[in-house]
Symmetry: C2
Subunit: 284 residues, 2 copies
């Protein structure tokens, strides 16, 4: 859907955080035919310089206050806790016309922060299902969001702002879809956080068994790719993780033990049935 005349594209966008997520959004916007004026900020001066040099941002002031001053849209692209803190800070110094957004991986903590700051009517939380096990601006790329699902959370009072934010994501090739904050976080506990920790669990077993990463085939490399993710970024997420995450890990432990027992018992039919069912799921 093209933006309607009442939903003009954002002409001035501030992105706070220039790592993989913020940097990739800046790069994608810079690549548009009619790009908005993007101001980027990072606490890290070398990242600000790199973003300027790459042409990803038009300006990169040293303080975020400057970046958000006249922005129509502010996108917070920091670790979860920093996003919550920044949301309160930015809410306090920007006028009601400024739309606030973020790309944090959990939405309920941000929805609470928006409510506490009294800006639920101008907050449109986003979570793009894209990223990298690497981090920092150097790992950002222009096409990161191409084809990616972007979950969005907004109160009814912010619905026309949500339309404009959806249009922005569509302009960079992403597929925005509205969801409830709680439903989102439950889904993520299973679809995102569980695969992450499953990969860590597998990697820890391989490491203890003395297997070197270079001894893995392509399948083993894929299965452990997430084990290379940045611990610092995930720490905050785990603090707010839905109980479904721990439940999922206990279920994974049960599944691994059942499979071990099938092997011990030489139950090849049971193993084949398991593989057939997961293959059917994977291809569904």
């Amino acid at each position: 859907l093209a933006p309607s005349p009442t939903d003009p594209p954002f002409e001035r966008v501030a992105i706070l955080g220039l790592g993989v997520m913020g940097g990739s959004l800046a790069r994608a916007l810079a690549g548009l035919d009619d790009p908005p004026h993007v101001l980027g900020w990072s606490p890290n001066a070398s990242e600000r310089d790199a973003a300027l040099e790459a042409g990803a941002v038009a300006e990169a002031p040293a303080g975020w206050h400057e970046a958000v001053a006249a922005a129509e849209l502010v996108v917070l692209a920091a670790p979860l806790r920093a996003c919550c803190d920044l949301l309160a800070g930015v809410a306090a110094v920007t006028p009601a016309v400024t739309t606030l957004s973020d790309v944090a991986s959990l939405k309920a903590p941000l929805a609470r922060a928006a409510a506490e700051a009294g800006v639920s009517d101008r907050w449109v939380g986003c979570h793009p299902m894209a990223g990298s096990e690497r981090s920092g601006f150097e790992a950002s790329r222009r096409d990161l969001y191409h084809g990616a699902r972007v979950w969005t959370v907004a109160s009814p009072a912010a619905s026309s702002r949500a339309d404009r934010v959806h249009a922005l994501w569509r302009s960079v090739g992403a597929r925005p879809e509205a969801i409830d904050a709680g439903a989102h976080d439950t889904l993520m506990a299973r679809a995102s956080h569980l695969p992450q920790l499953a990969s860590n669990a597998l990697a820890s077993v391989l490491a203890r068994a003395g297997v070197a990463p270079e001894q893995l085939g392509p399948g083993g490399r894929d299965a452990t790719r997430l084990a290379g993710s940045d611990a610092g970024l995930w720490r905050d997420l785990f603090e707010h993780a839905a109980p479904e995450l721990a439940h999922g890990l206990y279920a994974l432990a049960g599944a691994a033990e059942r499979i071990a027992r099938l092997l011990d018992e030489g139950d090849l039919d049971g193993l084949e049935e398991l593989m057939r069912s997961t293959r059917a799921w994977r291809q569904s």
Copy 2:
């Protein structure tokens, strides 16, 4: 290393099995500047036709006896049990000059089959660390082996044949390396079979929790990619799996449970330490 004058390249190669592994080898050989004459055989007539049509093989006789009749090298590219059966069959009808090889994922069962058939002195077992969760000739590709490690197992009596087989793999861009059959199978239990079943375990948990594959992000998709593998191909492997595979799955169950407990207890330091250690391993 270029083949020495005493190790001329194989000029007539028979490949029995035209799925991902055999089909990809045929395609790669067909793409060489000075390709050998390749005869391909599959029990599946449509696969033989497809390989002929793709120019991957020069001939595709309906029976494998015809394919191996004058071959200098016979490569078995079938599921494990079929490879063992074929090895005995091919050994019985080919002369001592014919080198026998295979690309099965376990090497001890093939080494036993070679010894029982009395052809240990002309068998060079191979296991390329490459493949696909898809199967059949349609999933084969010319560059599958490019850059891939290929483990090779051969008795001292077959060492000059092993040199020629190494040269063949190098010609298609692979990296052959000799290994002992037992050491290979133990390593594979951990580096290949364990990630496979860990992926099945994770997929089974996600399926039961009602997560659809399309709801996964790129990380979750990678972590469950192997869960789409063909059950039939793996069944034989699990019959011969080293005990290290079941041990690894019990260890995975323990690791998953420990992580669940860290979450339950809100032990963010413990979670961060785990992630830091697996990241260090992954990047080592």
